[in-house]
């Protein structure tokens, strides 16, 4: 088995002959890592996942999962992957256990093996007490955990997670990340996930690809990406009206300065050490610093840097929008 579990070369999907959702993307996912696709809605994340899980056929280019070609050996691909979809696909009228067993049937797993696995998985995601309750009464977090259990029933070598915490509140989201880490540790598979939450990519992924308008703009570990920005960001204002850019840029470790209305945005290495030097330099020339803040770069800054804009919230399509609304409504839970 090769070190690269997923390989994509020039993978492209064009809808209706003119809407390019995914535009010649190249990437590879290594054995055992969590690889994340980060981008706003409509960037082409779900379309990429749908091609990799053989639900959509690529218009151009090729990709393989565990050396199986996604177009030519799609049946083999389906046998080795698991999917945790963006939506809540569990049947509300069935119980948690019945849902997991239904998934097992879809993989042709014999009943006795399926039952054993289902019980183990439900225990791992802490749903044992609710296994005989209808999914109707589950909360958003519980439904998500049930989807995780369903996605793992065939012991996949690669697990695909599409927006695994969409619509969940902050606490439940963090708890879900813990479950994902726990399951990964237990089964040691490779994970491919999409998200539009920056914190999620930062907290979970070993490597992140930032995707915008169907193209990958940059790939790297969250640390590398943040480091590539060249240090921390200091924002400061001075009382006087004069332009102090020239003066500040002479301070050691200051790499870049930009004047924005009444403040300056300074990129500097070792921000916490450099900031006092900047204040000192300004004070010596008779300027008074009125405000100063120091931020270590987050993926948000990385995102801004590479795409030139904040995460925007354009909707993929009416269909995706409706599906998302339903998912979010269900996530809030009715029976809690």
């Amino acid at each position: 088995m090769s070190e690269e579990v997923i390989k994509a070369e020039g993978l492209t999907k064009v809808f209706n002959k003119h809407l390019t959702a995914v535009d010649h993307v190249n990437f590879s996912v290594k054995q055992g890592e969590i690889f994340g696709f980060l981008g706003p809605n409509g960037a082409g994340k779900t379309t990429t996942i749908n091609m990799l899980i053989t639900v959509l056929k690529p218009t151009e280019g090729k990709a393989s999962v565990l050396d199986f070609d996604i177009s030519k050996q799609d049946y083999n691909v389906r046998n080795v992957i698991g999917l945790v979809p963006q939506e809540y696909t569990a049947d509300e009228d069935l119980t948690g256990l019945e849902n997991v067993l239904l998934c097992a049937d879809l993989y042709g797993i014999p009943r006795n093996v399926a039952k054993e696995r289902a019980m183990d998985l439900l225990k791992l995601v802490e749903l044992t007490d609710f296994k005989d309750k209808k999914v109707q009464i589950y909360s958003g977090g519980m439904r998500r955990r049930l989807e995780l259990a369903c996605g793992l029933i065939n012991r996949p070598k690669v697990l695909f997670l599409d927006e695994p915490t969409l619509g969940l509140d902050v606490q439940t989201r963090a708890a879900t990340w813990d479950y994902i880490r726990k399951l990964k540790k237990e089964f040691g598979m490779t994970l491919f996930m999409t998200t539009h939450y920056l914190e999620e990519a930062d907290a979970l992924c070993d490597r992140v690809a930032i995707i915008d308008h169907g193209k990958i703009v940059v790939v790297g570990s969250p640390e590398e990406l943040k480091h590539s920005l060249g240090g921390d960001v200091i924002t400061l204002s001075v009382k006087e009206n004069a332009d102090v850019s020239e003066l500040v840029s002479k301070v050691e470790h200051v790499k870049e300065i930009k004047k924005e209305d009444n403040s300056y945005r300074i990129k500097a290495e070792y921000g916490e050490v450099t900031a006092p030097f900047i204040i000192e330099a300004l004070r010596r020339k008779g300027y008074t610093v009125t405000k100063l803040s120091l931020t270590e770069p987050t993926l948000n800054e990385v995102y801004l840097e590479y795409t030139g804009k904040s995460m925007r919230d354009a909707e993929e399509s009416r269909e995706a929008f409706v599906a998302q609304r339903i998912t979010m409504r269900r996530a809030r839970g009715r029976g809690r």
Partner: protein, 279 residues
């Protein structure tokens, strides 16, 4: 990696799991199940008992309402005539609603989930067709039982084995109809469009058949339509089997027509759906 799945599922696996999923939603939900029983009772009561066609025939000496009805409807009892029409009616509506469930599966992401598993595309469609067919057949059986309880008058040469014939014709027509409805709904992401299309098809299909009224008294143009309507043949087959003095030539014609309709429509519907799912 020689073996990708330790259980090597066959090409047909999953068909029962998916069919049962559909059926469970129905028989495990007491309200829906109860309604599907009450609905035919109401219809039979309303149409069969309220519309007492026999009472419209004037009581003139020399005219026996029973004989008149026998000559026009083929049976002296309108309720029996109508109750059997209900069976085709059920086939049409049950298959239509299972068509709608495809839209839900798509919108809620279940379809995508199933498409990512080793279940073959054809099985996904077959299971929908099969569940609609089984449901309709169950309801047809129920209607027969209820109709008997309400006083259905069997034909002269009725044989209990004829009931099997009723299920056979129901099977044929339901496979055809549900494939047709699934082909209509599978492309749709919203409920409204297929709903409108189906309403446009359903009621005219119902009334341009002999389900409630004999075709020979319809205007010519309507008779022509009814002549090609598979529901006409379905209803006639069920009547031949249950309440008429069975005419085997006619019955053979009915089965042939419905059979051919079913094979053609199911093939088109399944090919279209399959091609759509493999895009």
């Amino acid at each position: 990696m020689s073996k990708s799945n330790e259980y090597c599922p066959s090409r047909l696996h999953g068909i029962w799991a998916l069919t049962n999923r559909e059926l469970k939603k129905w028989y495990k939900a007491p309200v829906i199940f109860l309604l599907s029983i009450i609905q035919p009772i109401i219809w039979m009561g309303l149409l069969g008992k309220a519309m007492n066609i026999g009472a419209l025939i004037p009581k003139v000496p020399g005219i026996d309402p029973g004989t008149v009805m026998q000559q026009t409807l083929g049976t002296s009892d309108y309720f029996s005539f109508m109750a059997v029409g209900m069976i085709a009616f059920t086939a049409l509506f049950t298959t239509m609603f299972s068509g709608m469930s495809v839209v839900w599966d798509r919108r809620l992401g279940f379809l995508n989930k199933v498409l990512s598993t080793p279940v073959s595309r054809a099985v996904i469609i077959f299971s929908k067709v099969l569940s609609a067919t089984l449901r309709s057949m169950f309801q047809a059986g129920l209607i027969i039982v209820l109709a008997i309880a309400f006083g259905l008058q069997f034909g002269g040469n009725f044989n209990p084995l004829n009931i099997l014939g009723v299920f056979a014709i129901m099977f044929l027509v339901c496979v055809g109809l549900s494939s047709l409805f699934i082909a209509i709904t599978i492309r749709s992401t919203r409920m409204e469009t297929p709903m409108a299309v189906m309403n446009l098809i359903n009621l005219p299909m119902m009334f341009a058949s002999n389900a409630f009224f004999p075709t020979k008294f319809m205007p010519d143009w309507l008779q022509t339509i009814a002549q090609y309507n598979p529901l006409t043949y379905t209803t006639d087959a069920v009547r031949q089997l249950l309440i008429f003095n069975t005419d085997y030539t006619q019955l053979a014609l009915d089965f042939t027509y419905v059979g051919i309709f079913s094979v053609i429509v199911a093939t088109i519907g399944i090919v279209l759906s399959w091609r759509f799912l493999s895009k």
